[in-house]
Amino acid sequence: MYPRQFDYVAPTSLDEAYGALGDDSKVLAGGMSLIPLMKMRLLSPGTLVDIGRIPGLDAIEDKGDHISIGALVRHSTTAGHPLIAQHAPALAQAAGMTGDVQVRNRGTTCGSLAHVDVAADQPAAVLAHGGVAVVGSASGTREVMADAFCMDTLTADLSPNEILLEIRLPKAGPGEGSAYDKLGRRGGHSDYAVAGVAAWVKMDAGSITDARVAITGVGTKPSLLPEVSQALIGTDGSESAVASAAEHAVDGVTVLEDLYGSVEYKTHLAKVYAKRAIQKAIGSIRA
């Protein structure tokens, strides 16, 4: 199964990459979503700009006030990196549950965010952690909150002449915890999420002072659930408080039926996994 013909460019600098990008181009990093789409001829870009040979894009770094994940950081690196384990455990867990071993060795965390698959794991964790997308083009860089960056199904706030250069995550402070949990399409944690929830929670003196909860798999895109967060804030994080907040797990979400479940089933799963992820996040603070 061959894609249609295309021109291939392998720049070794960002300036060169920006020069090669145009209306009929796509950026190739890990290619785990792009290449199958091209092989099925759902997508046939005229030019592929392979950023895989540009130095400096493959690092996870502590930048002082935030953690930076570069455009070429693979899922396997995100899953196992000590800085992500420390500052964004939900993202480490989501990256470890993305695809399979071979996919995690090639696919990139930034690519997962830029692709905005309705059932991708890592965007939910990036949203729950309050991540920021740093977008570059020939005219400079701009920062977009990850929630706004994920505009709609398979649609990011990214023009054809732009590259998602990095994801920035706030560093973890005292009393904060996070977790991701999901039901995969092949059961357990395998494959895309039928329903997945990432939760980030901050506690002080036994009560929840801040929270962000994000869902994936059930709706039109990975998205934040402000009603769940509001229901959590001010509570003691007890099982009943979490269960009652999790009842809001599809508030504002257009739940879609697909091969993996009815609207009713996915709504049920969303609440179950919201409860589990929030409880895991709280448990990680108390541990």
Binding site: Y2, P36, D100, Q102
Partner: protein, 162 residues
Amino acid sequence: MTVNGQPVSAEVEPRTLLVHFLREDLRLTGTHVGCETGYCGACTVHVDGEPVKSCTMFAVQADGANVTTIEGIASNGDLHPVQEGFWERHGLQCGYCTPGMIMSSVALLSKNDRPSEEEIRHGIEGNLCRCTGYHNIVQAVQFAAARMRGEEPPAADWEGGE
């Protein structure tokens, strides 16, 4: 790129997938083409030591890389312990998934020399087998793990092992 230790060089169309370059240009047909969509893992090879799906990577992306295929893991005619394990523990029936399954297993054992059954099943989750139900594949990997640690492999379950 270097394939199984041999430097190779060719001009290819950008859309040439790594698996087709290996099979059609280099005639290394041990790597199989299965589902073509990145699910089945029959096309698994190692690129710079890590298992990847060669049907979901363009050959040009592997320019300069070190590629190992199923043809490259035996040494001087001696089967790799994982190959021996699949042989001894009947880890295959039709054999279609086997090259990819072995490449994933070799990679798993290079990171974890004593994997539990669960870790083996997790380590080969990117490789689908429609014949065996994975049972004997797990035993094959356990056999290889013991052999690579220099220990006597556990008896197969049909021989009274676990």
